[in-house]
Symmetry: D3
Subunit: 110 residues, 6 copies
């Protein structure tokens, strides 16, 4: 579900259906916006996981939680973020994110 | 999916990731708010299932539909609520809730 | 904003743009679904206000809170419902509903 | 998941829980609204898939993408629609729709 | 509210806060995606207004309804689209869009 | 709209309708959760503004953007956050947040 290669495999899956979307992901979103100095990658991961939790995008959360860990967000911070989000997006959204984070943490454990 | 123990098992799953969230669930949400006299437990279940249906929180609906039955909401009322919600949150949200309710009803049947 | 005539005036406003939508509101939603015996009008108002609060439909809340009062939901129950919704849809949605309810309560006061 | 019969099987599943909802689907939504001349079936499918993508109704997307193909929307147009939606509802909603479209396209391939 | 210049004035308002966002709007969204041949401008306007209605983006609807008219979507089609959306995103979202469309239609009337 | 006193005035407005909600805001949300060491106040403000932008809670954004500035988030970071959110919640949500941020920045300028 959230192995290191799953982001690129999702992209390859979608590329055949919507090639321009993937081109924009690679050139604009990851190639340009994520590289801007205005916010650190760690901060960008924090706000992205917050938004995905609030919008309950369960399908996309695993790979982005995993990438947040790679960008220096700790497991404790992700737990704290999810708790904080419960107040801004409701308990059900937070509980769903909590279960997904648990699975990701279990899987990326060495 | 929606056995009597699934709410507490979800809590245990999330507790390790976000212990404060579960503490707040137990002390504040269930220990305080749900026990307030301003609305009956049956009414609280009605509005909770309505909100979960409207927000399309598929992941959280099963356990809360089951708890609604335990709080005295009848199956017919849940069906009527889902029909009502179709007009306020759209047919797709209602159809998703209808399929989930169907599964819960089938599982809790003696 | 939420005078007794505002629901019908909103309908008249929209009728010219989308006459079929208003016909369906009158014939199907209010003429049929709301009249069904499966849930009382008071319960239908409860779940409708819950859904509108959860979905943050600020524009539509005033007239429906007012109608809920007319259908026998008390002001205390609306306050309790809004508090309950904070946990299922987040504090911001509840605070917005709280401010709207306050305005409606002030306006319908004799 | 998205075989030709899955729309009617979903309806049958829900019919037992919420019979009025299915009656309204058949008599009002499909029997009346979809038959109106104001928008072609192809246009109705376009805007429906756009709305389901934007609202991230993953559960309902497969059958409606399949029906869009039957109503004359091409695969290329669905890919373009999903790309367009990325800008109006966010990349995660579009990526989810892209993966679902990919599965539907693979399944309906002769 | 929805005069021909309001889209560019909104952009200028935001440019000072988020200059990159406006650069992306102009170079990528309008300069590239909207110019792609896969969907006509009329179809892109249809699905955009559908998405904005479904997501209840009241703030952004006026200028995009106006642009839809400029792209060849008729008033009758917008009314029909809003009616259709009532079933996919709920009556409140459709009523809000209906009121906004009414205002735009009144303002752009010669 | 977003003067320093507007958060407490909103609370006072809602207190009469939903006193328990405000008690929970003060005792649990601000008195407990915001004081936890797991995330800095600056990080909590970042993820809160991200969530409010993604959920398009226009009504609540002004006071929370203002509080973010007080918690050490810079104007440039808020602009960058809004740009980032365009990709995760769509352009319309970001444009709405951009216009609100602009108003807040103009008002709090000495």
């Amino acid at each position: 579900m959230s192995t290191p290669s799953s982001a690129s495999s999702a992209r390859n899956e979608v590329r055949q259906v919507a090639p321009k979307l993937i081109e924009l992901s690679e050139m604009v979103l990851y190639g340009d916006v994520w590289e801007r100095p205005g916010l650190s990658k760690r901060d960008r991961s924090l706000i992205k996981v917050a938004a995905l939790t609030a919008l309950c995008r369960s399908d996309q959360l695993p790979v982005h939680i995993e990438r947040a860990l790679a960008n220096g967000v700790t497991r404790e911070e992700i737990g704290e973020l999810i708790t904080h989000m419960a107040f801004y997006a409701g308990w059900p959204a937070a509980m769903t994110a909590g279960r997904i984070a648990r699975k990701v943490f279990d899987e990326v454990r060495p």
